[in-house]
């Protein structure tokens, strides 16, 4: 038996993972325990999540057979957590391992990581086949540009600064808001030129170095000229940023295809591929057979990647596996939940799927807390808020409840049997089990499920629900479908604005108490105020 702990620290999105005998046992992000989303741009260390894994498994970090850290690392912390005998692995190599070895892909696969910058690179490309990976390209950050930093610094500057000088939107947290507002903007040649002057791409070279400071320079200058006083201009800039990013990344991938034309399956990792619209464009490339984006695509996935690398080296994993689901956190028994609930004043009754389906149909907002917490940035039916997708008012109603001001539409859960009926493209369904890719909605469904469709471009970011990946949600959705004839429900993360997704029953009960949700389903019981 061998136990492998993987860690990522020092930057945002610290996390810890444990693999035992080639099986992924637990993966968890530190933010879920510190309750500080993305560490609020500060350095973070996977201390609380490691302790939680130790508690759940009884496998102490210092006694584990292998301790792996994805770079960068603060060695003082390495010594503190794991003792002196730990190994390190390149940041982008870990990204690529987290993607390829969870893709389940067979044959020739192109694995690409792309992010703001990790260790010395913003990107690495591997050719993969039969469980072997060969690095063929990398993009050194010291001499080249970074699309991730472009997004980070635009996010950090486009809404200006508060009276204390803090950005209104923060990098590493609010990039999704930019992407979400992009479809509401329009093409602007001037903005395209401006973006091109910050970073450009040709023949595997991203010019120019230090994209972060270049972006800030441009944004601060434009801001000072009053460019972003008009909200319409902010939306237009977001639109053009999205379009330009797609153009550059698609060109990069096309250039790779010219070199490695027999690699038509693609694995993606790194923060850039949190961009679900970009992933849709890649999926729609005619030569692409299938894409897969690792569900913890950002730096939170590095702890898994680095542990997978060790498992592969040890021969405990020999080929890519498939996630059945990413419920890799920690669960609470009914008795534990009952004990915690006694600190609150709720009524409790046994869970009945049909009753909850009727509640959803009636427009109630349901807190859904089941089993182990998800790994990665998406709530996928373990720590979710569920409601109906058929009411156009749901968007503003939910935003009000959750204290959010997002312009992004909410995402749908879709019964797998109905996916092709609702969406136009049928490629890469495994990726769609983890809500990592957008699809265009068929015309006849747009009016039926308006709360989960982006009105301008008619896309949605679905999560395919199967009997295997989440039996309980699958049952609930079937009941709801029987009542409403709609095989879709709205799923958003169980958290309020600026809060990480909830982890424990206490968090869920607090939200029920504060009337964020109307009812709370935890395990086999339903709680109400």
């Amino acid at each position: 038996m061998s136990s492998i702990y993987g860690f990522y620290c020092l930057s945002h999105s610290a996390s810890a993972s444990l693999i035992v005998d080639g099986k992924i046992i637990h993966c968890a992000e530190e933010e879920r325990f510190t309750r500080i989303k993305a560490a609020d741009q500060y350095e973070s260390y996977p201390q609380l999540c490691s302790e939680r894994i130790e508690k759940a498994t009884g496998i102490r970090v210092k006694e584990a057979d292998h301790k792996m850290f994805a770079l960068p690392i603060h060695p003082d912390f390495g010594d503190f957590l794991a003792g002196p005998n730990y190994e390190t692995c390149s940041h982008h190599t870990a990204h690529n391992y987290s993607a390829y070895f969870t893709s389940g892909m067979e044959g020739k696969v192109l694995s690409i990581s792309l992010d703001g910058g990790g260790e010395n690179n913003t990107s690495k490309v591997f050719l993969c086949e039969d469980g072997k990976m060969v690095e063929v390209k990398n993009t050194p950050i010291c001499s080249q540009g970074s699309l991730g930093l472009l997004w980070a610094f635009v996010t950090n500057t486009i809404r200006g600064y508060d009276p204390n000088g803090n950005p209104v939107w923060k990098m590493l947290k609010d990039e999704g808001k930019l992407m979400g507002m992009a479809p509401n903007g329009k093409y602007n040649e001037r903005y395209q030129k401006i973006l091109k002057s910050i970073i450009s791409y040709k023949d595997f070279v991203f010019s120019f170095p230090n994209t972060g400071f270049r972006t800030r320079f441009v944004m601060d200058s434009l801001f000072a000229q009053g460019e972003f006083n008009d909200f319409e201009n902010i939306q237009d800039f977001a639109f053009n940023l999205q379009v330009y990013t797609e153009e550059v990344v698609l060109q990069f991938i096309d250039d790779l295809h010219k070199l490695f034309s027999d690699h038509t399956k693609i694995c993606l990792s790194g923060g850039i591929f949190a961009n679900v619209k970009l992933n849709q464009k890649i999926n729609e490339l005619p030569w692409v057979e299938e894409i897969y984006i690792t569900p913890p695509m950002g730096d939170e996935g590095l702890s898994l990647g680095v542990a997978l690398k060790k498992a592969v080296e040890l021969g405990e994993i020999v080929e890519p596996v498939k996630f059945e689901n990413v419920y890799l956190g920690f669960e609470y028994s009914d008795s534990e939940v009952l004990k915690i609930s006694q600190n609150f004043d709720f009524t409790r009754k046994p869970y009945n799927a049909e009753e909850i389906a009727r509640d959803i149909d009636a427009g109630k907002i349901i807190g859904w807390f089941q089993g182990k917490m998800e790994y990665g940035p998406r709530a996928l039916g373990a720590r979710s808020i569920l409601t109906k997708a058929t009411d156009p008012e749901t968007h503003s109603r939910l935003n009000e409840r959750l204290f959010r001001n997002d312009v992004m539409p909410f995402a749908p859960m879709v019964l797998s049997e109905y996916f092709d009926e609702i969406f136009t493209c049928s490629k890469s369904k495994y990726a769609a089990e983890f809500m990592t890719i957008c699809y265009t909605t068929k015309e006849e469904w747009i009016e039926k499920i308006p709360a989960v469709i982006q009105k301008t471009d008619k896309t949605a970011r679905p999560q395919i629900i199967t009997q295997i990946n989440n039996r309980r949600v699958w049952d609930l959705m079937n009941k709801y479908n029987e009542i409403s004839n709609i095989p879709v429900i709205l799923n958003t993360s169980f958290n309020i604005h600026n809060e990480p997704i909830i982890e424990s029953p206490e968090h869920a009960f607090t939200h029920l108490q504060n009337k964020v949700v109307d009812k709370l389903v935890i395990g086999n019981y339903v709680y109400e105020n």
Binding site: L10, L71, P72, I73, H74, P75, D76, T88, S90, H91, G117, G118, E119, N120, I141, C142, S143, R190, K193, I194, L195, K196, S197, I198, F208, P209, N210, G212, F213, R214, R216, F217, V218, D220, S221, L222, A224, Q225, E227
Partner: protein, 216 residues
Amino acid sequence: MFTKIDDITIQMDFNNGIKVHVKGPDLFYYVEIYEYEKNSNVPKYLEGHQIHSIPMDEAPFWKQFKFDARFYMDFEIRISRVDRNEGIQLVHTHRYNDRGRYVKFEIINKNKGETELWVDRINKYCEIHKCIPVIKTDFTDINHRNKNFFLTDGIEYYRTYKIGRFPKASKDFKTMDPRKKGFLWFGFWKIFWSYEHPRNWKHLNSQEVVDDILGL
């Protein structure tokens, strides 16, 4: 050293590290420094950041562009502004060139023999660069041997080199923190020992110390 391009005034000073100020109609300017390594025509990016438009005498240090390397580098300064229609536009470049210009060499060394050796190497530098040297040492007779020694009033030095064995200073914050393995590094800035030395002088002989500083 002042340069004027349309309504933009650029002031560059290479005497105590490298400093750049820009005064013009824009609120911000972007200054970058690149290095040409020996026998290479491809500039390597070292560092860049935005500065406020403000003249030198009014500029607090955080509003200047400052690059603290005091040893010889074949560097290029690039200054850009933002055009709201075109984005980042280059307005000026300046490549290090001390030909025909006054360059000050300050030797900080109590050993006369070694000072003589270092003066020889300074002369070698001046032969290559065709610059006008002003050499200051701790030894009056050596100083008086240099015909420019008394001509310093009102002279604008293009560059000043301090030559000696300087201990690593606490302000050398750009030296990579060795505890942080694999930390992000934007640009080709070196893991050097001190602003005054490209390499640790403890491992060099007397001539190598001066040659390192002067890029010989």
